[in-house]
């Protein structure tokens, strides 16, 4: 059992937003959905795409692109929703994260995860748990509790008014 646990906790699901690859720990991933009809809730911030029916329950969906400061695009055939459980104000809630596409599940030993480099400061440090070097690319492992927290002001970038260098 413990070996299995070890494996699980070292598995990461990677997904793509535009050209960058991110990863979340598989422990927190419930499932991956195709995009059903999303009902937009009026008077809610842009990054909150709306709600969907997940087997009789109402699941809020967050557009990860907008949350990460990218432009909103139309859904493609690859677009999907990752159902995640996150901790918010000491309570576990389930959300759907809308991403451009999911890539693969990476199984890594923990030493493969590098501390996030302080350089660039493209994203706030507390959002990034670490980096994975996969072939020639870097994958950013997200601290999803922070990233998907409700606070609208918690944008991915330090300062939204600055353009990315």
């Amino acid at each position: 059992m413990s070996i299995e646990n070890l494996n699980v906790s070292n598995s990461y699901l990677s997904f793509k937003l535009e050209n960058e690859t991110f990863a979340v720990t598989v422990e927190r991933v419930h499932e991956i959905l195709e995009i059903p009809t999303v009902t937009k809730v009026p008077k809610s911030p842009d990054f909150m795409t709306g709600v969907i029916n997940l087997r009789g329950n109402v699941l809020p969906v967050i557009d990860t692109r907008i949350k990460f400061g990218l432009a909103k695009t139309d859904f493609t055939i690859d677009s999907c929703i990752i159902v995640l459980s996150i901790m918010m104000e000491n309570e576990q809630i389930t959300i759907g994260a809308l991403v451009d596409s999911v890539q693969e599940v990476l199984e890594l030993s923990s030493e493969k995860i590098l501390p996030s480099p302080a350089l660039g400061n493209k994203y706030k440090a507390e959002f990034i748990q670490g980096m994975i070097k996969n072939d020639e690319h870097f994958i950013m492992v997200l601290n999803i509790d922070e990233v998907f927290s409700i606070n609208e002001l918690h944008q991915m970038k330090e300062n939204t008014s600055e353009t990315i260098i």
């Binding site: 059903p36 009809t37 009902t39 937009k40 809730v41 009026p42 008077k43 809610s44 909150m48 709306g50 709600v51 969907i52 029916n53 009789g56 329950n57 109402v58 809020p60 967050i62 918010m88 104000e89 309570e91 809630i93 959300i95 409700i150």
Partner: protein, 689 residues
């Protein structure tokens, strides 16, 4: 039977069962103080309840019992076998008392008196053993009845007694309270009809009394009429003659003098000694029959207690059924088979009934909350040295049990505030020309599909200017902000606002009205304050009837479905797009009346696919009518409410979501919020202009 009495009986039965259970525990751990405490509390509750509902015998009985356990609790007595015996005997007797409240059965009555005597004896430190023994088994009851002596009372009132205002029948009634009686009225003094004066009394009585009576106790009954009557009392037997066969024949025979009768009675007793065995058997059978009557009553009990989780589960199953029903409806329409449609319609009807029934099962009257507030008011007013009376109106108003559960805390808080800060001290009140006794009124009533609960005190009220100053000093508003009365009072509900100048033990412990508001909002309620200085403060709480399923009107704006609670919907109209745009005053004329409208496409920021023809839903909120524009009205819909979750907690115009038959999510709007927000924005706009 009176509904309240039915409730009392139900509760009393539960309490007595509980008492029995706990007494059994005590039997095993006679020194456990928590068990003694529990028995004391049960007796106390039972006493209070029975006295409140006018069952004085039960009240009186439990009073002695309560005293006993009070002594034990205080260590003045210990739990002996004797105490346990009398406890169990009392438990049994209490059950009997519930079936025979007035002690019409003489056996019960004697039992009752013996037990009380036994309890008093135990309390006085004497054994009380005898009286318990007498109760402990069936055949001894027979002995006890036989043990009670029989007295013969001849009561001859003087003719003029009635003129003094004495009702002779009351005296006879009093006499019959002493024990089993047999009354023979004697009419030999009756004069000729022509000579009869209807204001005089001619009849006299011979009464045979049997029970735990003495000559003195009989004499006491006639204490006030002694001057106006002839009274003769004789003990005619050491045993109960009344039950003997042939007794009544002898007693009724007016030609016999009492001495002759006594000798005849003597013969009865000797004759009957052989019959005693038979009587014993008969009384056992009677007793057994009585028991079976009691059990059959239990079987036909009109209400049952159900664990609340079972109700919650039933409710969630009904919710699922309603959702599935919506799908069935949709599918049957698509398939367009008339047979299927008719089945689906039938199921819809049943589902609706099932839903309504389940709802009503989950409804409980507000009354359930009130006892603790009565208590709170009493305790707190004593603590604060204020004289306050608590009055309730509409306590039978029913609400979903989940709402009632969540209402206790905020109401408690409001009561505390009223008692502590609202109602002044007695002297202060007199100075202001108010009655010294303060009053808190809780009034509950239905209003549309909501229940309104008002808590009104006649205290010093709240000064709006003071709230304003306070809010400014706390930085909640700026000094130049222009707020109307309502908005000022609403400031009380902001976090970090507590008007009490000094923090007291009773209220103002840092948790303020913002907590009250939050708790009430959580159960989809609304709260408002209204206050007049020196006249008092009123807190209005508006609550939905239920939390889980609502009847709604399904509408559509662009691709999004919305549900408007049907209780708010007044009328539906059609209107052209032009009527909504470029209007200065936001008024639309419907049915020849000007109605303010809210253009939901703007309000919800939906721009796409605007139709030429709009549907208008007029919603009613209090006395205000507001028209909401939608694209299309689809129809009535039973919406199972699902929370939107914490991520959407700031979106208050949407109170929840529901799953439609096709699996899409529809949003349930809260018209009250939309109207409020809209008005608030308008005021702000005016200020800006």
């Amino acid at each position: 039977m009176d509904r309240f009495k039915a409730v009392f009986f139900e509760e009393a039965t539960t309490l007595i069962n509980e008492l029995e259970r706990v007494s059994l525990l005590l039997h095993n751990n006679p020194s456990d103080s928590s068990i003694i405490e529990q028995i004391f509390r049960i007796m106390h509750t039972l006493k209070g309840n029975s006295t409140m509902f006018g069952f004085y015998r039960i009240g009186d009985f439990t009073h002695h019992f309560e005293t006993l356990y009070d002594y034990i609790r205080e260590g003045k007595m210990s739990v002996t076998d004797n105490v346990l015996n009398i406890t169990f005997a009392s438990v049994d007797h209490l059950r009997v008392l519930l079936t025979d409240v007035e002690l019409e059965n003489s056996v019960h009555k004697i039992n009752h008196e013996n037990l009380i005597r036994g309890l008093i004896e135990v309390l006085n430190g004497t054994s009380g053993e005898e009286s318990i023994k007498n109760n402990s088994s069936d055949h001894k009851i027979e002995n006890k009845v036989s043990d009670s002596p029989t007295y013969w009372v001849k009561f001859v009132p003087k003719k003029g007694l009635v003129r003094k205002g004495t009702n002779v029948l009351f005296l006879l009634d009093d006499l019959s309270q002493l024990g089993a009686t047999y009354t023979v009225s004697n009419t030999e003094r009756l004069p000729d009809f022509k000579k009869l004066d209807p204001a005089d009394i001619y009849i006299y009585w011979e009464i045979y009394v049997s029970g735990t009576v003495t000559e003195n106790s009989i004499r006491d009954v006639f204490m006030f009429v002694e001057e106006d009557c002839e009274l003769e009392i004789r003990k005619i037997s050491e045993t109960n003659l009344l039950d003997q066969d042939g007794f009544s024949a002898i007693a009724r025979d007016v030609s016999l003098s009492i001495d002759e009768k006594i000798s005849k009675f003597g013969g009865l007793v000797t004759n009957s000694s052989s019959k005693n065995r038979m009587k014993e058997v008969r009384s056992k059978i009677e007793k057994a029959n009585e028991k079976s009557i009691v059990t059959s009553k239990d079987n036909s009990i009109s209400s049952i207690r159900v664990a609340s989780e079972k109700l919650d589960e039933l409710m969630s199953l009904v919710s699922e059924l309603v959702t599935t029903q919506a799908r069935l409806n949709l599918v049957s329409e698509q398939i367009a088979s008339s047979e299927l449609v008719s089945i689906s319609e039938n199921i819809e009807k049943i589902t609706r009934q099932l839903r309504d029934n389940t709802f009503s099962i989950c409804l409980i009257p507000i009354e359930n909350l009130l006892v603790r507030f009565q208590r709170l008011v009493r305790d707190l007013s004593t603590q604060l040295n204020k004289d306050v009376v608590f009055v309730s109106e509409g306590a039978d108003t029913e609400l979903d049990k989940n709402i009632i559960e969540n209402l206790a805390d905020p109401l408690m808080h409001i009561f505390r505030n009223s008692l502590d800060h609202g109602i002044e001290s007695g002297e202060e009140r007199v100075k202001k020309g108010k009655p010294a006794q303060g009053k808190i009124l809780l009034k509950a009533f239905y209003s549309g599909n909501s229940v309104i609960i008002q808590i009104r005190d006649d205290g010093k009220g709240i000064d709006p200017e003071m709230i304003r100053q306070k809010a400014i000093s706390k930085g909640l508003i700026t000094a130049d902000q222009n707020l109307d009365r309502r908005q000022i009072f609403d400031l009380i509900f902001l976090p970090g606002f507590s008007t009490a100048e000094k923090v007291s033990e009773v209220s103002g412990r840092g948790v303020g009205m913002d907590v009250v508001k939050r708790q009430i909002t959580e159960i989809r309620g609304e709260v408002e304050v209204e206050s007049v200085i020196n006249e008092g403060t009123t807190i209005n709480i508006k609550l939905p009837l239920t939390l889980s399923i609502i009847d709604g009107l399904l509408v559509k704006i662009n691709a999004t479905h919305f549900v408007i609670p049907l209780g708010n919907v007044d009328k539906c109209f059609e209107a052209n797009h032009e009527e909504f745009v470029d209007k200065i005053n936001d008024l639309i004329i419907l049915d020849g009346e000007q109605v303010p409208f809210i253009y939901l496409r703007d309000e919800f920021d939906i721009k796409e696919n605007c139709p030429q023809l709009h549907q208008v839903v007029v919603v009613k909120q209090d006395d205000r009518r507001v028209a909401l524009s939608v694209d299309t009205i689809i129809g009535e819909y039973q919406a199972v409410l699902k929370p939107l979750g914490r991520l959407y907690k700031n979106v208050d115009v949407i109170s929840g979501a529901t799953i439609l038959g096709n699996g899409e999510v529809a949003l349930v709007v809260d018209p009250n919020r939309i109207i409020k927000e809209y008005i608030f924005n308008q005021i702000n706009n005016e200020v800006l202009q």
